[in-house]
């Protein structure tokens, strides 16, 4: 009996969902997205990629649609969950290209999935503007798949950014040369420490404490205690969101005062501001934005209004910029011809929320690498290439007493 009612329940559920789906708007531009909605990458994707897609589509459609030649066509999104798995991502791209026959594709979230889907996206000729991934040795990748574009630049530049900032502070006589450096022992942290550590040594810094901890480690009190005992002038953490938060919290609890305190991924989130408030003042983070640019401020406001969540201070505007580039490429070319779009993206210059973007051999060499919290806002203090608007980094004040 119970089983029969279960079956009836299932059947009615199936019927209920089956009746969805309405009439289509006239001749829309169909854009396919395959990215993570479930699995380990879902958190990042739903914080950075999906809200920006929503914002962009809403904005373009409200303005009448995407301008293709002399037509204004509404955007229709065809979206799939890749479950954070490469097999699923590859299959989704196949489905988008051959079943749905979408006009354009917005590539997945994360380096791994972008690299895994690149051969297929290239096979069907779609431009792949990667806003959420980067790697070392990108040049050989670009040579093989010239339709891939890398907005975040090379991995090397990001790790070295904080070293440059510390060196500037040291050369100005503001901090000493004693540095404590820790990293999460995960692919990201290891890549970073690998370029970051030699860069520190080359810049003449004395690494007085060095440690790594596993991803997901909850108790980072000993790490901060040991770092504090080594009495450094600066603290660098190549960290992920959970540990960026935990390290900051421990440093605050143990009154670990250094003149420069740096955390990586996670320090750029609005949740970081919410968690630490005024105590975040002066903390250096990986990434950054030109916070004083009016175009960025307008973007932040819209992001909050449309998606109900705050944009972060590094990845969100880059993800949005990738969509703006796609849009402007279509407008410049005047059609959805993929070859022409690829050529345009390779050579053109695009006005975006992160400033003017021009790809150099398919790689964007102008990226924020270090930002600094100041009264609830992150200001970019260091960038690769020729980005304008960098502010002078200031020394971190002592933790407020609470």
């Amino acid at each position: 009996m119970l089983r029969r009612s279960f079956n009836v329940l299932m059947l009615s559920a199936a019927l209920a969902v089956g009746t969805f789906g309405g009439a289509l708007a006239q001749d829309p531009v169909r854009i396919g997205v395959s990215a993570s909605k479930t699995g380990p990458l879902a958190g990042g994707a739903s914080g950075v990629l999906w809200p920006n897609i929503k914002l962009w589509v809403e904005k373009v459609n409200k303005a009448g649609g995407l301008k293709v030649g002399d037509q204004m066509r509404p955007i229709e999104i065809v979206e799939y969950d890749d479950k954070s798995s490469p097999e699923e991502a590859v299959k989704n791209i196949q489905r988008l290209a051959t079943q749905d026959q979408v006009d354009l594709i917005i590539p997945p979230y994360s380096t791994g999935l972008n690299l895994a889907t690149a051969p297929l996206i290239a096979k069907y000729g779609y431009p792949q503007i990667v806003s959420t991934g980067n790697a070392n040795d990108l040049d050989q990748f670009v040579k093989r798949w010239p339709n891939t574009f890398w907005l975040l630049g090379r991995a090397q530049g990001i790790a070295d950014g904080i070293v440059g900032t510390l060196k500037d502070l040291h050369d100005a006589g503001k901090i000493g040369n004693r540095v404590a450096v820790v990293n999460v022992s995960d692919a990201f942290g290891l890549e970073m420490i690998k370029t970051g550590k030699p860069a520190l040594k080359q810049a003449g810094f004395d690494i007085v404490y060095e440690s790594s901890y596993p991803l997901g480690n909850q108790d980072l009190a000993p790490v901060i205690a040991s770092a504090k005992a080594a009495n450094p002038d600066a603290f660098i953490a190549y960290s992920y969101p959970p540990d960026s938060f935990a390290l900051t919290e421990q440093a605050q609890l143990q009154k670990f005062d250094v003149k420069a305190f740096f955390v990586s991924v996670g320090g750029n989130l609005d949740a970081y501001r919410k968690r630490f408030g005024a105590a975040a003042n002066g903390i250096l983070i990986m990434g950054g934005v030109n916070a004083s640019a009016p175009i960025f401020q307008a973007y932040r406001k819209e992001h909050l209004e449309v998606t109900g969540q705050e944009a972060d201070w590094w990845a969100s505007p880059v993800a949005y910029a990738s969509l703006e580039i796609l849009q402007q490429a279509v407008e410049h070319v005047g059609s959805l011809d993929k070859n022409a779009l690829n050529k345009e993206i390779q050579s053109g210059t695009f006005k975006t929320v992160i400033g003017d973007v021009h790809f150099d051999n398919n790689i964007n060499n102008n990226n924020w690498t270090v930002g600094q919290w100041s009264d609830g806002v992150v200001h970019g203090v260091r960038a690769t290439g020729n980005l304008q608007g960098a502010q002078q980094p200031v020394l971190k004040p002592a933790w407020p007493s609470n």
Binding site: R3, T38, D81, E87, Q94, Q99, T111
Partner: protein, 322 residues
């Protein structure tokens, strides 16, 4: 050899099916081929998994460990050795790992074995990460080949056929009989003179080697190999779910699970991208609730119910001896 006629018939039918399936890439090369690659991948892995876990009833969550070892066999040596040689390395690496694990887990059964194998996947991922950082250079490794989806499909099809033939041969051998006795009662097996340690290790090694080969074949599709992706625990879980859906009492049981599972999952993720997790969760509950013995178990009991008189004592002794 004394082979029953119905088994010969099944073997012939299976080979004929494989021959027909080999033509698939000539008919389609888009989405359906990709879907078929995924089906074929899990067909190979689930059947290989069931070679060991079916008869012994030891649920292994180490599939991802073997898969990852195979993937890395290709990723590490792709620039210096030809692809066929890499497959052989994967075989050796998978079998070696399985033997070590087999030795270490001889006295483990039930939930202890499950936990050990789950931990193994994490351990292998961490070891690879450590080796890569200390000796290997970058964490991510590129795998560039000229293999297309069609090639991967054919390789996986061939692997599946080999797994099936191997499973069939094992079932017919003394090894297979010994395994079934171990599965029913390990103490009894020892008492009647079955070398339980040797049997378990051999079977685990065979199973592990096959899964490693599947990982090696998939490496070119990933293009960029990282420990997180290669040693993803989800692989292990999906293998178990699909194999249990099909049922592990028959060699072709897992296959019966893989095909509908993959198709249904694909339908769900294609039509309800935002509700996938919920629907899949309900589907899992439904599977366990409605089909506790898997599809094959259900089919068999239906079959028996209809013709109870014809049920022979011989076929029921092993299956229902418990």
């Amino acid at each position: 050899m004394n082979i029953p006629r119905n088994e010969l018939l099944a073997l012939g039918a299976g080979l004929a099916c494989a021959a027909v399936l080999a033509f698939l890439p000539l008919v389609t090369e888009g989405f359906w081929l990709s879907l078929s690659v995924n089906i074929m991948l899990y067909a190979a892995i689930c059947t290989a998994w069931a070679l060991f876990s079916g008869p012994t009833h030891l649920v292994s969550l180490a599939s991802a460990a073997f898969f990852g070892v195979g993937t890395y066999s290709v990723a590490i040596f792709i620039d210096v050795l030809p692809f066929p040689a890499l497959i052989l390395i994967a075989v050796a690496a998978g079998a070696l790992l399985a033997m070590l694990v087999g030795l270490a887990t001889l006295r483990l059964s039930g939930v202890y074995f499950v936990i050990f194998t789950l931990g193994l996947t994490e351990l292998m991922g961490q070891i690879v990460t450590w080796v890569q950082t200390n000796f290997g250079g970058a964490i991510g490794l590129y795998v560039f080949t000229d293999l297309t989806e069609a090639h991967l499909y054919w390789l996986l099809l061939a692997l599946t056929v080999i797994v099936f033939v191997t499973g069939w041969l094992i079932n017919r051998s003394r090894l297979g009989l010994a395994l079934r006795i171990i599965g029913n009662d390990e103490a009894v097996a020892r008492h009647v003179g079955v070398d339980t340690a040797r049997t378990r290790i051999i079977l685990f090694a065979v199973s592990g080697a096959f899964i490693a080969v599947a990982g090696a074949i998939m490496a070119p599709r990933y293009s960029y190999i990282t420990p997180d992706a290669a040693f993803s625990p989800m692989t292990s879980f999906f293998v178990v779910i699909m194999a249990l859906l099909g049922g592990t009492r028959r060699l072709w049981g897992p296959l019966v699970g893989v095909v509908p599972f993959t198709l249904v999952m694909d339908f769900i993720s294609g039509h309800f991208p935002n509700q996938t997790a919920v629907i899949v969760g309900i589907a899992f509950l439904a599977i366990v609730y409605v089909l506790p013995d898997g599809v094959t178990g259900q089919l068999e009991s239906l079959f028996r119910r209809r013709r109870p008189a014809e049920q022979s004592l011989l076929t029921s002794t092993v299956e229902e001896g418990r």
